[in-house]
């Protein structure tokens, strides 16, 4: 905020290049850790590499990685969306419940319903954040409560049970191409598209600009309110679709579906190298972070370590990741400052 005016164009491009290297290093780092984890666990316990288990991990990753994409879009613009878990729950119940109310409803329509619910929730968040100009942390904390409360009021003590869902719907979760679950492939395509949008589209880049410096972004003519609004709509839409996937995956849905998933998603996003104060990070990194976290959970399980360790490890990794980021960004700033002197402003 203070140093911005001093930077010459040369330094800015330097900064872009450096942070590009840093983010790519982060992605490579996660891949390296992942490979190490898979190899070591696979050697110790070959069951880990059984197709069954890999499919299981990929399906678990699907939901977290999708949500992480939405969260990345929001976080790079220096906001946060804590309400996604509640949106997943609301959408999972309402969309799966359609089968009970409308006989023979086509499955794409169910996905559309989930999408619509997600967009509505995201738009509500986005509207309050961008028009009400209230910090997103507070808004989405509040909407986490409100959406979950609505879910509880609608669901009551009831639930959707697996056998009430059409087999063709449940089968989506079991379909595979060359052993890879269809859902995981679809998620990979969506994440790739999202990453491309953030990286190469004007409105995507503008999100990073907003996250780096909202005031400067506004003065540069970026429609900050509209972009922020759209970021929340995107996050909500993704959470809505993920809710339908939740229904496919678990079948049984009560009013607690998706509770607390936002923390796993934020952990994945941060471990994946998205700066929590905005302005940097990639959707691919966030997806890799999701893959790493679910792989760790699965490895612990296969190795016979109590599943109760998973959460503590996720928390530890999250803290390690932000500490690492802090160290890197400090070094980056120092390097940039040196570059500034050398460039002789």
């Amino acid at each position: 905020m203070v140093t911005a005016p001093r930077q010459s164009p040369v330094v800015v491009s330097n900064a872009a290049r450096l942070s590009d290297i840093v983010s790519r290093t982060r992605e490579l780092g996660i891949v390296a850790v992942l490979v190490l984890l898979v190899v070591v666990t696979g050697v110790v316990q070959p069951n880990f590499l059984r197709l069954n288990n890999i499919q299981f991990v990929l399906l678990d990753t699907t939901m977290i990685a999708l949500l992480a994409l939405g969260e990345t879009v929001v976080v790079v613009s220096r906001n946060v969306d804590l309400s996604i878990g509640s949106v997943v729950g609301l959408s999972a119940f309402l969309s799966a419940n359609l089968f009970g109310h409308v006989a023979g409803i086509p499955i794409p329509l169910v996905f559309a319903a989930g999408l619509g619910i997600g967009i509505a929730c995201g738009a509500a968040n986005g509207l309050v954040v961008s028009v009400g100009r209230v910090p997103s942390l507070v808004v989405t904390l509040a909407s986490l409560y409100i959406f979950r409360g609505l879910d509880i009021l609608i669901v009551g003590g009831g639930q959707v049970v697996a056998f009430s869902l059409p087999t063709s719907f449940r089968a989506i979760g079991e379909a595979t191409v060359l052993g890879i679950p269809d859902l995981a492939i679809a998620a990979a395509i969506v994440v790739a598209a999202g990453a491309y949008f953030l990286r190469s589209f004007r409105s995507g880049r503008e999100l990073y600009a907003i996250g780096s410096n909202p005031d400067a972004a506004r003065l540069a003519g970026i429609p900050v309110a509209r972009r922020t609004f759209m970021a929340f709509v995107a996050s909500g839409a993704i959470a809505g679709v993920t809710g339908v996937i939740w229904a496919i995956r678990y079948g049984t849905i009560d009013s607690t579906a998706g509770t607390g998933i936002e923390l796993q998603v934020i952990a994945a996003v941060v471990v994946g190298g998205v700066a929590i104060f905005g302005g940097s990070g990639s959707a691919v990194g966030a997806a890799l972070g999701a893959l790493l976290l679910t792989s760790i959970a699965s490895a612990l399980q296969v190795l016979g370590i109590s599943p109760f360790w998973v959460q503590a490890i996720a928390g530890f990794l999250l803290i390690a990741a932000i500490t690492l980021d802090r160290g890197i960004s400090l070094r980056l700033t120092t390097t940039l400052r040196k570059g500034n002197y050398r460039g002789g402003a």
């Binding site: 140093t3 009400g132 209230v134 005031d215 009013s255 360790w309």
Partner: protein, 374 residues
């Protein structure tokens, strides 16, 4: 001193609003259920919010100093699990309680070290420790629960404090509220906390030991969360790893509802007390009106939303009235030039939430390059 007096004015208005709302809730409660205004009902009403009330005090101080602590409920859960873990291993209860309180203090210290020494954003750190501490609770107890506590202790959780109509947790809250209120509003430490929240760098340059004060606040938060964990465990007579899950939301909601600005620098302990009362009465009234208890989050969420939207709306209206451009106008730079002094004297709260501050996340001060600029 002008800013201090000025700071009290709009807050006084905020608390007037709280009092009116509390009165409204009382009327609503009485009209829906005749048993609402009985001391027995008030006892159970306050019993339900005792832990949140205790945790809200350090949270208020932390938010006023411009930070946040989302790990309080996980600290509560971890300490509750530790209590059961040590108890079934045959430790004497006094020793268990001391260790549990110390564990809470250590949890707070860990947050503080990450935030102050490593310069990490408190939001990210405490989301991390929220997961970590809950994970430790899971490691300690796994799927088991412990409920073999002696009646002498579980009575502490459900009986009134001797000589009063109030539960132990509320008596502790009242004593703590008085201590914290005095510290915050009439001592140099309290002024230092406000100063840190308004401008951390300026506070550091004027000789305030920012690191030390923040460390103390987080340790206090950890320790009082541990105390809340003990009370929670005795109230339910059960130690289980998911005790208190999600309570951090209630605590933050109450603190913001009390008129503490999420950007730091404003807030009163009187507001906290009023907010706790209103919050408890509202939940209780809804319960008596047969509203689904688990869906009461809708009300909490709406309260939270209202408490941040109202100041923004007020500032927008008052800016309109003065013929200034609304929130769509030019950002920050214009503010000090068009309203020299006026904004500081008449509506500092609104000023805080106007263009400069409201686009700024709570962790703004921790961007790389600004915090360790020297």
């Amino acid at each position: 001193m002008a800013p201090r007096i000025a700071r009290l004015r709009p807050i006084a208005r905020w608390e007037t609003g709280l009092v009116l709302l509390a009165a409204f809730v009382l009327i609503f409660g009485t009209s829906t259920a005749p048993e609402f205004l009985t001391s027995r009902n008030f006892f159970y009403m306050s019993l339900n919010v005792g832990e949140v009330a205790i945790m809200a005090l350090p949270m208020a101080l932390i938010v006023i100093s411009g930070e946040i602590d989302l790990s309080v409920a996980s600290t509560l859960g971890m300490c509750s699990a530790l209590l059961g873990f040590l108890w079934i291993r045959g430790w004497p209860m006094p020793a268990v309680l001391v260790v549990v309180l110390a564990a809470g203090a250590m949890a707070g210290l860990f947050n503080a070290v990450l935030i102050t020494r490593f310069g990490l954003p408190s939001l990210a750190v405490t989301i991390g420790t929220l997961t970590l501490y809950r994970g430790v609770a899971l490691i300690l107890l796994g799927p088991n629960s412990v409920s073999s506590f002696p009646v002498t202790y579980t009575n502490v959780g459900i009986l009134p404090f001797p000589g009063t109509d109030m539960p132990y947790s509320i008596v502790i809250f009242v004593v703590l509220a008085i201590l914290v209120g005095i510290t915050l509003h009439v001592t140099p430490i309290g002024r230092a906390i406000f100063a840190i929240g308004l401008n951390k760098e300026a506070a550091a340059f004027s000789g305030i030991r920012v690191t030390r004060i923040k460390t103390v606040l987080y340790v206090l938060s950890g320790m009082l969360s541990a105390l809340a964990g003990i009370l929670f465990t005795f109230r339910l007579a059960t130690s289980i790893s998911n005790n208190g899950t999600g309570l951090e939301l209630d605590v933050v909601a109450v603190v913001l509802f009390a008129g503490v600005s999420i950007f730091g620098g404003t807030g009163t302990i009187v507001g906290i007390v009023l907010a706790i009362f209103t919050f408890a009465a509202m939940q209780n009234a809804l319960l008596l009106a047969n509203f689904n208890e688990r869906a009461a989050g809708i009300v909490t969420g709406s309260l939270l939303l209202a408490s941040v939207l109202v100041p923004t709306a007020v500032s927008y209206l008052s800016r309109l009235r003065r013929g200034l451009s609304g929130p769509t106008g030019l950002p920050s730079a214009e503010q000090p030039m068009t309203e020299p002094g006026a904004s500081a004297n008449e509506e500092p709260r609104a000023g805080l939430e106007s263009a400069t501050a409201r686009d700024r996340p709570v962790w703004r001060a921790n961007q790389p390059g600004t915090a360790n600029g020297g």
